[in-house]
Structure formats: structure tokens, C-alpha cells
Symmetry: C2
Subunit: 362 residues, 2 copies
Amino acid sequence: MRLSDIAKLAGVSKATVSRAFSHPELLQKETLDRVMAIARFHNYHPNTLARAVAHRRSGLVGFIMFHKSRPFFGHLFYGPALDGFMERAKARGYHVLLGATTRRNDNFEENFIKDSIEGAVLVTRDPEYLVNTFRDRNIPVVLINEESGQENIGCVVGDDYGGMTKIMDHLIGERGYQDIAFCSNRLSHVCNMQRYLAYVDALIKYDQRPYVNPDLPEYDLLDSYEPNFHVLSRYGRKEIPNFGTPIIFSSADTETAAKSMAKLLPLKKMPRAIVCMNDSIAIGVCQALKQAGYRIPEDVAVTGFDDIEMASYVSPALTTIRVDPYDLGAEAMDLLLKYINDPALPSERICVPNELIVRQSS
Amino acid sequence: MRLSDIAKLAGVSKATVSRAFSHPELLQKETLDRVMAIARFHNYHPNTLARAVAHRRSGLVGFIMFHKSRPFFGHLFYGPALDGFMERAKARGYHVLLGATTRRNDNFEENFIKDSIEGAVLVTRDPEYLVNTFRDRNIPVVLINEESGQENIGCVVGDDYGGMTKIMDHLIGERGYQDIAFCSNRLSHVCNMQRYLAYVDALIKYDQRPYVNPDLPEYDLLDSYEPNFHVLSRYGRKEIPNFGTPIIFSSADTETAAKSMAKLLPLKKMPRAIVCMNDSIAIGVCQALKQAGYRIPEDVAVTGFDDIEMASYVSPALTTIRVDPYDLGAEAMDLLLKYINDPALPSERICVPNELIVRQSS
DNA sequence: TTGTATGCGTTATCAT
DNA sequence: ATGATAACGCATACAA
């Protein structure tokens, strides 16, 4: 069943049937009813693809993840972000197409961009590569939790610097802790970098000395990535400060954190508090500390970041920063829409506020 | 830039340019190289939408959730299932379109099916409604964790009955527990129903008496849904057995479970073990029990189901059944592909095996 | 208010 | 190996 079939059956032109579905207000009620009745009887529905071709508008936006490994959409943070993105897209009349890959050469071109998406939200730690790929196709993009130095690129980020500042204000200003260590995976990601900068700046602000432990191994803070100078300069810096001895793990998951931390313990010089890059790391660190007989927070306080669901269920429940990934996703869709409607829009950065959640671990 | 533009620039016909991209082997190497060079120079890419119209094949499949509320794709189980579905779809040359809604009348027609998807995977507790909607459009569907009594409907389910049997074998056969209570949300969902049936059957098998507590309130096991007779009959039953006094909560999340359980405590007659419908409920039950001073598992053993990430981090870590949602999603895509290629295929049920994970809570 | 004619960007059939 | 032409299913400018 297609448009022309219904037209014949109803004894009208194709244009009339087309109008019945696209601009019903243009038709006489009588004609409209007759056409729609016949269409309904024959279970006819307009073909969206053909419509899209005629309109030169697909109504599709992409949510694309470029990660090292799974989970993609099952990710504790980006899964809910996808929810927000999708619901907002639906509200704006768009559909969401998924993309995910682990490798650059995974036929990225072939697998994802060959679709006629009108725009895309990108989750990646290597933004420039993707941004260029999409720019070649004139497809506007918005980054989530990343920033590009290029023009016409939107981004939606949580307030990492502000969040970590809240944690430090809590630990130092309210609790009076000293000897506060920083524990993270590599700082190559701008979110990580900004959280670290806030940690450093807070210590400076409170006139505290950094946690220094000569027994700790030497880490490569950046995993041989270049820092994002564009973001660094926002904080008046030209490089990531060499400050104390942060504890760096090879990845950001709980298991790695637990194992790596366990190997380090016991430290000759224990910190009084350990500020972790995110909740997953914090939970792993807590496991290792408890295993080694340390009490939390009596011996060592620990803090996380993100407020993943687990953060409230572990024991002790984690002091952390609540970032609502749903909001991030929703904001990303709205920003993307602005770029779809005006591709020449200058780069815009939307910073989503967050909230300190004080629980038992500090 | 479109096909015809490249054709003019290259001095060839449209057909030749089309072949250059679709069937390059049909062209002389010389012609091919020239056309492709020009296309590349002008950054031309074929329009997927127009291609799809001409092919009468969109290359799109849908992943559609019909839930009461969020999270949709951020769901601890269905998020990872989406990962599996998407990766498999990619491997099969398909793209994934998202759909989610909470209400029937949420313009379901308008918002989701108007796309030319070739098939869809459905996550819902009200399968017949959705199945009918898609059948009207001749779009094949596969259900995840649900079963339909209709023809030509595939489904992929975890082995709920087998999993719960493993838990009961463990509790009774290995640990020797008696007075084992069942704790769940309503049984309207077939997964829940089958887990409950396995619980009942295990007690019968071991010649144990059901846990009966006259103080417990009366619950509506089914939430006024009809049971799925089609599935019941597989276990030689015509209705859900009235067996002991299961503890029923209004929903399946941790918070509800914790609050509802707390209200019930202390029970005059405590069970020796509480078999919970899933991990979220089990975690909530554990919280309430610990709060009330019970030791787990010394006073009461507790078990979960699903092995969500949290299950291994709570204290005590949860004995549960590991179901890999990724596998479920991947299997669903492959089954869907069979229905896309042969819509007349009879209903097929794929049962994904699971695994008992014994931890500290039992 | 409705019909005619043309266009959207591609593929496929049948020539040559 | 390449070209001409029809087809895919629908939208819209213009005419009536």
C-alpha cells in the first residue's frame, strides 16, 4: 500500500492523500474523512524514509560512543545520559540512532556516519578526531563531558572544577583534614584534569601542603596524551601542575582500583583523606583499605564523584558529588538542536551544576 | 553534492557513479578511479535515505522499551542488553533506533513506529498490546524477558525457572535451611512468575512446608493482571499456586523494598531465609534487616537474582544468579534477523542459561 | 479546495 | 563496461 494506491481507491490525486497526512487542515472535512477512512481500512501508513528524502530532513540524531571497551550504553553514567538525550529528542520530534565503537579503524565511516543523521552527540576521550570526521560531512556535533578547541562545537559538561572544590571545602573547611591525597586514573580526560586542578587549587587556597609520599611509584599522569591546553588556559595554566604524589591507576573501574590499592598498602605514610576521581575508584579504594584493616573515615576518609547508584549502598556510604547524567543528556539534545538550526553558531559550553552529598565515608 | 553532480563532473552517467559506490567491481578500474577521485575531492557521500527508499530496505531495527518509568536505557539490566543488541546489529549491518515510553497513549504510533524499521526488540510487561501494534504494520518483533501466546513472535529469556531452582538447591540441599520465605514485587511478569513457580516446586521437591505467617497482610499477587496461561501450562499448571505467604512489595526497587520491609519488621515468626525476586529487592531487604538488628546470614539468609554490579559490593555480598544481559540482547538481534528474513517463522523461544553465584548472604 | 507536474537522490532493468 | 530510463514513495509550487 502506498500513497498512489490510496489515491486511486479514494478517487483523488496523490497530492490530496499526501495533504491528508501532512496538512489535513488544507482539505475539506469530507474529503479528508473519506481518504483517512480508506487509508485506515487498508492499514496504510506513509513511508517515513520517502518522506525524509522528499523533505531533505531525516529527523534522526545520533548518540555515539567511542570508548576503549564495554559497557557502552550500559555505562552507569552514559546510560542514564542516553535516557535524557532520548526523551528530549522525542520531545523535539527527533529519533535517536546509536553508534558505538572501540577502535578508530572499526569502519567508523561505514558503520555510523553513512546514515543521514542531522547531528550527533559524542562521548569520547579523543574529541578532535571525531569532530573532524563529522565536520567533513557537515554534521554538527555536541560533546558530552569533553571540550574541543575548534569552532562551532558545542559541549555539555558537569561542573567538575566546582564539584571538586565543594569536596575540598567540605574536607578541609568543615572536617579540618590535612594530608589529603588524590587518587585517580590518568588525567588525560578533561573532566579528570579539572577535578585535579580543583584539588590542587583548594590546597593552595587553604595554605595546605600537598600529600607527598616518596614510596609511591612514579606514574605517567597523562598516559602519553597531550593535555587539553584550551581548557587548562581557562584556569590560567599552561600545564598540569606537578603537585605532591597523586596515586594513579591504569583504569577507572572498581576492580582495578581495589587491586592496585591493595598492592600499595600498607603505605608508610598514610594520608588522612583520599580524594578519588570517581565513585568506582573510591569504592575499590575503600575495599582495599577495609581489607587492610583501616577504618573509614576514622583512619582514612574517602570521597568519590558522580554519585552512581552504588555510592549509597556501599558501606560506609560514600561522600560524593551528585551529577545528574539525565540532565546532561537532555541539555546536549537541546544544544545540538541549536547547531542543527544554525551550523555557524560559535562554540558554546553548557555547565551543568552539581551537588555535594555528604555520607559516612568522610 | 549529489550523484548527478558527480556524474556531470566526471563526464559519465548517473548509473556509473552509482555503480562506483555499490558495485565497484562492475567498472573499469580507470573509470572507477576517476569517479572516486572526483567524489572524494568534492567530499561526496551517497545519501543513505535515498538509497534506503530505492532498496525498499532501511537497515534499521528498533530497541523499544515500554516501562512505567525511568530508567529506560540506563536500566541496570536493559542497558547492558542494549549493548549486546547494538553490537550484534552492527555486525549484521543494521542500525539501532531507540524508542521508549511510559504510557500507551503517548502517541506511540506517532513517535516510534512511523519509522521504517525492519524489526524491533520489545521490552515490556504488556506484550500483547505492543505485539498487536507492530503486527498491524507487518513489523516482526522479538520480546526480551517476556513471552507472547501469539504466532510468529520470537522471545529471548533468561532461564528464570532453572535459576531459581539452583538457588533453592543451594539453600536447601547444601545449606539445609528450612522456613524459606519468598519476597517479590507482583507476579504479573512472566519472569517473576517462573521464579516463583521454581520456588514452590523446589519446596515440594524437598518435601518442605511453605513459610506461613498469619501476621502478614494480604497481597494481590498479580496486581490485577491476568497470569500468562501460555507460560503456566509449560509447567503443567493452570493458575499461580496459592502457596504459603509470600511477601509482596509494590515495586521492584531497593528503596521500596527497604521501606516496605522495615514496616513489616519485626515479624513474630521470622523465616530462616528470604528468597528475593531480584537483587534490588534483596539489597533493600538486607538494609531493613540489618537496621532491625538481624545478622545476615546467621539469623536470616537472603538471596537475589540477576547479579547486578551492586550485588558484589553490598555487605554482605549477595548470593544470586548471574544472567548476562549482554547475551540476551545479542541473541535477540539474531533471532530478530531470522524473523526479518522469514516473517512466517513460527514462535521461537531462546532460553539463555545462567549461573549460581554464592557469596556471603547465604 | 484540489489537481498537475516536477523534484528529492538513489538503484535497477534493459539496452548497447 | 557504460548509458538511458523507469522506479522507489512522497512533498510541494503552481495552476485551476
